[in-house]
C-alpha cells in the first residue's frame, strides 16, 4: 500500500490566481483524499510571484511551500505548459505519518555558504532527510551546496536555479512570508522510503581542450595563457565573432557548444557542463553560469537539439536505477531541465517530454522546471552545480 501520495497540475490561465486554482484542482484530483503536506510550486515570471505564493497559501493554509520561478513555462509528462500570460505548475505531496516533509528558506546575501548552512540546519533539526530539493537564485549555488554539505553531509541534493525569461533578474525563490529575488528554498523528505535521482550533461565531449590559466569565480579570463574569448572563437566559430570583437551575450550560440570540466565519479567520467554567457571587451574574459577552477582542464562540448531531448531517456533510466525502483513503484518526481537547453531545443522538447517522461513513467505526477543552473547528486562526486544539464529526482515507497 502506498505511503507517499502525490498529484501534479499545471495551468496557463491568464490570471495568476486562476492558474494556481486550476493547477491545484488537477493536483488535488490526483492526490485524492490524502491531505497535502508539501506544495512544490513553479511559475513563469509573467505572473507576479507574490500573487502565486499568496494564492497557494490561502488555498492550503499551514502547508509548507517550496519552489521558484521557471523560465519559459513549466513542464512535465504533459509536455510544456506555457501561455502568453504565464504558467504555473504544482506538485502536491501527501504521506503517511511515518514520512515527514519540511521546508526551510534563507535569504542569500554576501555569504552563500552561510545561507545554505542556515537552511540546511533547520532541516537537520527535524532529523536526517533522505533527499533535499533546492532552488536558489543564480550566483552562489556552489557555496550554498557547500553550506548544505556542512550541515547535511551525504544527503543528496537535487534542484535548479530560479529563472526568468530575459535573464533580467526577475526570478524569485519561495521564502516566508514573500518570495525573494536572492534566496534559497529547501524542501526535504524523511522516512523509510526510496528517494534519489540522477543528473547528466546531455552534450558530448570533443577533443578540443585547454587549461584554465586565469579565472575569478565565474569569470573565465584565460585559457592556455590566451584570452578565453579568442580560444572559444577558434573552437565555436564565427557565430560568436561579433561578440568577441564588440562584447555581448553568447548564451544562444553556446547552448549547443558549452564547455565542461571532466571529473571522474564512481560511475565513470561525469562532465560538469558550464554555460559561457557574456564576452567582455577589451580583455576577452567570459562570464559563466558556474565556476571555472583555475588550473583545471576543460573541453568543448557539442550537442544537437535531438540529443538534448533524447537525453531524457537515459536520465529516467539512471534515476530509476539510483533508487532501485521500477516505474510502477515511483510515486512522484521532479524534473529539472536547463532553460538554455529548452531555448535551443524549442518545440522538440514538448514532444520529447511526452515521448519519454509520459511513456516511461506512466501516471507518475512529475513537476518540471526550466532553470538557470542545475544541482544534483553524482555518485562519487557528491552534490554538484552545473549548467545546461538535466536532473530527475524520484520518490518511491
Amino acid at each position: 500500500m502506498a505511503r507517499l501520495h502525490a498529484g501534479a497540475g499545471s495551468s496557463s490561465a491568464r490570471v495568476a490566481r486562476d492558474a494556481v486554482r486550476e493547477a491545484l484542482t488537477q493536483a488535488r484530483k490526483e492526490l485524492g483524499d490524502v491531505a497535502p503536506r508539501l506544495a512544490y510550486v513553479a511559475w513563469s515570471v509573467e505572473h507576479d510571484a507574490s500573487v502565486v505564493v499568496a494564492a497557494l497559501r490561502e488555498a492550503l493554509p499551514g502547508v509548507p511551500i517550496h519552489g521558484a520561478s521557471s523560465s519559459l513555462g513549466v513542464c512535465g509528462p504533459q509536455g510544456i505548459t506555457a501561455g502568453a500570460h504565464g504558467a504555473v505548475g504544482i506538485l502536491l505531496l501527501g504521506a503517511d505519518a511515518d514520512i515527514a516533509l519540511h521546508v526551510a528558506h534563507a535569504p542569500v546575501e554576501a555569504d552563500g555558504r552561510e545561507a545554505g548552512r542556515k537552511a540546511a540546519a533547520e532541516l537537520m533539526s527535524k532529523g536526517r532527510p533522505k533527499l533535499i530539493w533546492m532552488h536558489a537564485s543564480p550566483g552562489k549555488e556552489e557555496d550554498i551546496l557547500l553550506g548544505i554539505a556542512d550541515e547535511a553531509p551525504g544527503v543528496p541534493v537535487f534542484g535548479g536555479s530560479a529563472a526568468d525569461n530575459a535573464i533580467a533578474g526577475e526570478w524569485r525563490v519561495v521564502a516566508s512570508p514573500e518570495p525573494i529575488a536572492s534566496g534559497v528554498s529547501l524542501a526535504a523528505i524523511y522516512g523509510e522510503l526510496r528517494a534519489g535521482g540522477a543528473m547528466l550533461a546531455p552534450h558530448s565531449p570533443t577533443d578540443r581542450k585547454a587549461v584554465v590559466t586565469r579565472s575569478k569565480d565565474r569569470v573565465l579570463e584565460a585559457l592556455d595563457g590566451r584570452p578565453a574569448a579568442r580560444v572559444l572563437r577558434e573552437w565555436i566559430g564565427d557565430s560568436i565573432g561579433s561578440q568577441v570583437e564588440e562584447g555581448g551575450n553568447i548564451l544562444a550560440q553556446t547552448s549547443l557548444h558549452p564547455i565542461a570540466f571532466p571529473r571522474t565519479g564512481s560511475a565513470g567520467v561525469h562532465h560538469v557542463t558550464v554555460h559561457p554567457a557574456v564576452i567582455h571587451v577589451p580583455g576577452g574574459a567570459v562570464d559563466l553560469f558556474a565556476r571555472a577552477p583555475q588550473g583545471s582542464e576543460l573541453c568543448l562540448m557539442q550537442g544537437t537539439p535531438e540529443q538534448l531531448v533524447d537525453a531524457l531517456d537515459p536520465l529516467i533510466t539512471a534515476a530509476l536505477s539510483s533508487i532501485g525502483a521500477a516505474a510502477s513503484e515511483v510515486r512522484a518526481g521532479v524534473l529539472i531541465y536547463c532553460a538554455g537547453c529548452a531555448g535551443a531545443v524549442g518545440p522538440l522538447l514538448h514532444e520529447g517530454l511526452i515521448r519519454h517522461l509520459h511513456a516511461r513513467l506512466p501516471g507518475v505526477p512529475v513537476l518540471g522546471m526550466l532553470t538557470f543552473g542545475e544541482q544534483g547528486h553524482v555518485p562519487g562526486l557528491g552534490n554538484l552545480h552545473q549548467d545546461l544539464s538535466l536532473s530527475l529526482s524520484l520518490i518511491a515507497d
Partner: protein
C-alpha cells in the same frame, strides 16, 4: 523611428507558433518583448536582436511572409 513592429512580430509568432516560441525570443533577445504594445516605438537595438533571432522559431517562408506584413 517605426512604431508597433516589435508587437506585430511577437503577435505573428504567438499566432503561428506558441507562447513558448515568444518566450524563447525573449530569452534570445534579453528583452521583454511582450511589453511592446501596438503603439510603442520600436527600440532599434531590440529590433536588431529580434530579427536575428527569428530564424530560430520561424521558417524562411514565414519570415518572408512576416516581412511582407511589416512592409505593408
Amino acid at each position: 523611428m517605426s512604431t508597433g513592429n516589435i508587437h506585430r512580430i511577437t503577435s505573428y509568432v504567438e499566432q503561428r507558433k506558441t507562447p513558448f516560441a515568444v518566450s524563447r525570443l525573449i530569452m534570445m533577445t534579453g528583452s521583454n518583448l511582450r511589453s511592446f504594445g501596438p503603439d510603442v516605438e520600436d527600440d532599434p537595438a531590440v529590433m536588431r536582436k529580434l530579427r536575428s533571432a527569428l530564424g530560430a522559431v520561424l521558417t524562411d517562408t514565414e519570415i518572408r511572409e512576416l516581412e511582407v506584413q511589416l512592409a505593408s
